[in-house]
């Protein structure tokens, strides 16, 4: 059960990494600079990934899931804000769509799925008999760490180039 939960945590981090990487590829291939709200959504995703990474680094604890839910709620709030801004027919959508939806709609789906995943992982944790998970810091965990570290560093650099020291709003 403990190994299964560790595996799910790792999977969660890698999925978020792929979503963030997809956003980056979209940004450079399509040449669309991310809007301030898009950057806030990325901030939320990095927050969820960093919180789940705490489970891998220090052992699974409910407070780390709680932090991930808070970050997901933060990101969800801003994706909802962007959906609300573009929902009117006369107000054009921002950027091009991917598989029929704009990226901020996908972000809303990702944050909602993150909250759902945290709930499932918390239920699994609740049913575990021995709750004292020793931290495992193997090759997969290190890869997940560096993946999130690099994507956060990349976002820091591009956000700084786009917005400088301002709030970018």
């Amino acid at each position: 059960m403990a190994n299964f939960q560790r595996l799910l945590n790792l999977l969660f981090i890698f999925v978020l990494f792929l979503v963030l990487l997809g956003g980056y590829i979209y940004q450079y291939v399509k040449g669309v600079d991310p809007c301030p709200l898009c950057l806030l959504q990325r901030l939320g995703m990095v927050g969820v990934a960093a919180s789940i990474l705490m489970n891998c680094r220090f052992g699974i604890k409910p407070q780390y899931y709680g932090l991930a839910i808070l970050s997901a709620l933060f990101g969800r709030l801003f994706s909802l804000r962007q959906i609300a801004m573009h929902v009117c027919p006369e107000f054009p959508a921002f950027g091009q769509d991917v598989l029929g939806f704009e990226l901020y709609v996908w972000a809303y789906v990702v944050f909602s799925c993150s909250i759902f995943a945290c709930a499932i992982l918390l239920i699994l944790y609740g049913f575990t008999k021995h709750k004292d998970f020793p931290p495992v810091w193997g090759m997969a965990e290190k890869s997940a760490f560096w993946a999130i570290f690099l994507i956060a560093a990349g976002n820091l650099l591009t956000t700084f180039l786009e917005c400088g020291f301002t709030a970018c709003s």
């Binding site: 806030l40 990095v46 960093a50 808070l70 933060f74 820091l156 020291f165 709003s169």
Partner: protein
């Protein structure tokens, strides 16, 4: 300012590597609160509150 929030996440990740769970957790929580307050106009707009 927005770049600063990403910087805080990078510091949190480095604290994880340096084996400081409480500091990393605290900083992640502070970053969340800071983000909510820094972008308060957006947050209030979503909740349909006008000051």
């Amino acid at each position: 300012m927005l770049a600063g929030l990403f910087l805080i996440y990078l510091i949190c990740l480095l604290l994880m590597i340096w084996d400081k769970p409480n500091l990393a957790f605290g900083l992640l929580l502070i970053n969340f609160i800071l983000s909510m307050f820094l972008f308060l106009p957006h947050t209030l707009d979503v909740l349909n509150i006008r000051l």
